[in-house]
């Protein structure tokens, strides 16, 4: 315990210098900005700003880049709530209830609880990293391909819980998402799958393309056709911060979301992506009146946002303790560290203790700064919503276009997005929802890779998923969640049938 305190104090002494504080602030600010801008994400930004960090000392550079990363998580939720466009994969769930809250005039409350929940999650995550980094890494190493495949399968079950309307249609969307994730070059054999010779598809469909198409442009299309007068926000703008009652309602979800997100974030291999989905499913299941979810329930924002931020922070653990980056952004950090002369690995913790603890302390500071930056901004964002929709939507269209183009500098991506948008419009007209499709898409690649990898290692033995205990438990959880989700629907249908007869 005293060791923890002394390490933390070392960290704070490093992080609290004027220089590092300023860099943290710049990182968080830039991160929030690019999180708000659709399409462009932390990866592109960190890449762009890497050269600027060359002249900085390693600790400072890392602090700034880390700030960009979790700043982007905050910013991504802002667009998800305000204009129903998920800035990051992890903000998809926030669109479900967050945007509904915005439409009801409670945008301020939604943004506020997102910021507060994320701050709480950040604090807890910092403590977890500081105290439990090494034992947690050992836990993460238990996860092999079979466990990941089982985890992803369980994750798919959450998609059913996400459904607002027809469960059958949600399942269909998840399957379609999985199918779309197979487009591209097969990892194992290099064979082209369903790319039809289009070179920009050879690495698969970009998440940004699907997100912009289904959520950005399709949303604009929907708004234009359904109700011309309908803007982004209906009615009076409510309070700028969540009310006391709302805070009380969100307390539980925030704590649960933090735990869920923290645990999933540690898993190397981008387990953090599942955090918000799992939290949403959990909250919906244990709520007394789950019907509120999807119509603007604040728990549907508080839980996932906390999970989101906790996962973003704990995903630093495999990087800092093992030197192995769990996702693309962390891989960039590895590059940044190496450029600055720190080779990430298991010995960084002891050899560069001041760097290690300085970065951890700066995470907490970064969360505080994000709160300080974002809370006052809520007023500005909400006022932005007052811009008449006839001007707002062409601007949304343009910013999304630029955002997609900036991902790969490819006009082909932009063209593909317009096709996806038309598809998304048609799908919503037929009663399908986009969130399950995105979830299936995101999980599909991870699921298939790990499935085939597990089978390769076990030489085709399917029972490996049952024999390994962690994997077996995860599969069981997934089955239970699926059954629990589908059962009420079957029961009501039976009642309906009886009533009709």
């Amino acid at each position: 315990m005293s060791l923890l305190l002394s390490n933390l104090s070392l960290g704070f002494s490093v992080a609290f210098t004027l220089h590092n504080l300023a860099l943290c602030f710049v990182g968080c600010l830039v991160g929030t900005l690019i999180g708000v801008l659709p399409g462009i994400g932390p990866i592109a930004t960190i890449t762009m700003l890497l050269p600027i960090t060359f002249g900085l000392p390693p600790v400072g550079a890392l602090i700034m880049l880390a700030g960009i990363y979790y700043g982007a998580q905050y910013g991504g939720s802002t667009t998800a709530i305000l204009v129903n466009i998920p800035g990051e994969v992890t903000s998809v769930v926030t669109t479900l209830d967050g945007h509904q809250m915005a439409r009801q005039g409670r945008a301020g409350a939604a943004l506020g609880i997102a910021a507060l929940g994320s701050f709480f999650a950040g604090c807890v995550a910092t403590l977890i990293i500081a105290g439990l980094a090494v034992p947690l890494t050992r836990l993460a190493l238990l996860f092999g391909p079979a466990e990941y495949a089982a985890l992803m399968t369980a994750g798919l079950a959450f998609a059913v819980v996400l459904a607002r309307g027809s469960i059958l249609k949600s399942i269909a969307m998840v399957v379609l998402g999985l199918l779309l994730s197979t487009v591209g070059n097969d990892l194992e054999t290099g064979a082209e799958r369903m790319t039809f010779g289009v070179s920009s598809l050879s690495d698969g469909i970009d998440f940004a393309v699907l997100a912009m198409g289904l959520f950005g442009f399709a949303e604009v299309m929907r708004n234009l056709t359904v109700d011309q007068a309908r803007g982004v926000v209906h009615g009076k703008i409510g309070n700028l911060l969540p009310s006391r009652a709302e805070l009380r309602q969100s307390a539980g979800p925030v704590v649960r979301g933090t735990l869920v997100g923290a645990i999933l974030g540690i898993l190397p291999g981008n387990g953090a992506v599942l955090g918000p989905f799992a939290s949403y499913a959990l909250e919906k299941k244990i709520a007394r009146d789950p019907g509120r979810f999807g119509q603007g329930a604040i728990e549907g924002v508080a839980g996932p946002e906390s999970a989101n931020n906790a996962g973003a922070q704990t995903s630093f653990i495999p990087l800092l303790t093992l030197g192995i980056p769990p996702n693309a952004v962390m891989a960039l950090m590895v590059g940044a560290m190496t450029i600055h002369g720190i080779v990430p690995g298991p010995l960084v913790m002891t050899r560069n203790a001041s760097l290690f603890w300085g970065v951890i302390a700066s995470m907490w500071l970064g969360n505080l700064m994000l709160l300080v930056i974002n809370l006052p901004l809520i007023g500005a964002w909400v006022r932005l919503l007052k811009v008449p929709y006839r001007l707002m939507y062409p601007a949304i269209v343009l910013v999304c276009c630029v955002g997609i183009y900036s991902v790969n500098n490819s006009p082909g991506d932009v063209l593909l997005t317009s096709g996806v948008a038309l598809f998304g419009y048609a799908a919503s007209r037929l009663g399908f929802e986009s969130a399950p499709l995105l979830l299936g898409f995101v999980l599909g690649r991870l699921l298939e890779e790990n499935l085939r990898r597990a089978l390769a290692i076990s030489r085709g033995d399917l029972s490996v998923f049952i024999h390994r205990p962690v994997s077996a438990w995860l599969l069981l959880t997934g089955v239970v969640v699926l059954v629990v989700a589908v059962l009420p629907a079957i029961r009501t249908r039976r009642e309906q049938v009886f009533v009709e007869e």
């Binding site: 249609k169 056709t225 317009s418």
Partner: protein, 156 residues
């Protein structure tokens, strides 16, 4: 033979579309090798998923004949079509004339999708938004987005 009554037209069309996509996917993944269950090849998962999708489609079609549901509703294609056109216009003009042209073009075409658009207002707003985008993406974030590219003359 009694006529089968479609109680939920929306579900019927939805199910039929799913079936169409499933058939398309099976056709598209035909050249890939499936492998066995224990050693799945590249075509294994696409085919399994396509079949699952088809089953969902069949279930939806079946349900549409039994359970009453929503009607199709009015589908307007003018608005969505113009938005899609705006995006396409952007894609075609971003590389050569550059953002300075593609931006206002996309916004104006998108503006045509709404009858409430006031053209002069939109024109000025689109120039302003494009300028902000240029400042943000190009100057602040250093992204290599072409601003004004006139081949032979100059490149920005």
């Amino acid at each position: 033979m009694s006529r089968v009554r479609v109680r939920a037209p929306q579900d019927l069309v939805a199910g039929a579309s799913l079936l169409a996509i499933a058939v398309f996917a099976i056709w598209a993944s035909a050249p890939l090798s499936g492998g066995r269950l224990g050693a799945p090849g590249p075509g294994f998962l696409p085919r399994v998923l396509a079949i699952l999708l088809g089953l969902c489609g069949v279930a939806l079609v079946g349900r549409s004949l039994v359970r009453s549901g929503e009607a199709l509703g009015r589908w307007s294609w003018r608005g969505p079509g113009l938005i899609a056109l705006a995006v396409v216009a952007f894609a075609l003009t971003i590389r050569v004339p550059g953002l300075a042209v593609a931006g206002p073009l996309a916004m104006l075409v998108a503006g045509a999708a709404s009858p409430e658009t006031r053209w002069r207002e939109l024109a000025i707003f689109s120039l302003g938004t494009t300028a902000v985008c240029i400042a943000l993406f190009r100057s602040l974030l250093h992204l290599p987005i072409p601003v004004l590219v006139l081949p032979g003359l100059f490149t920005l």
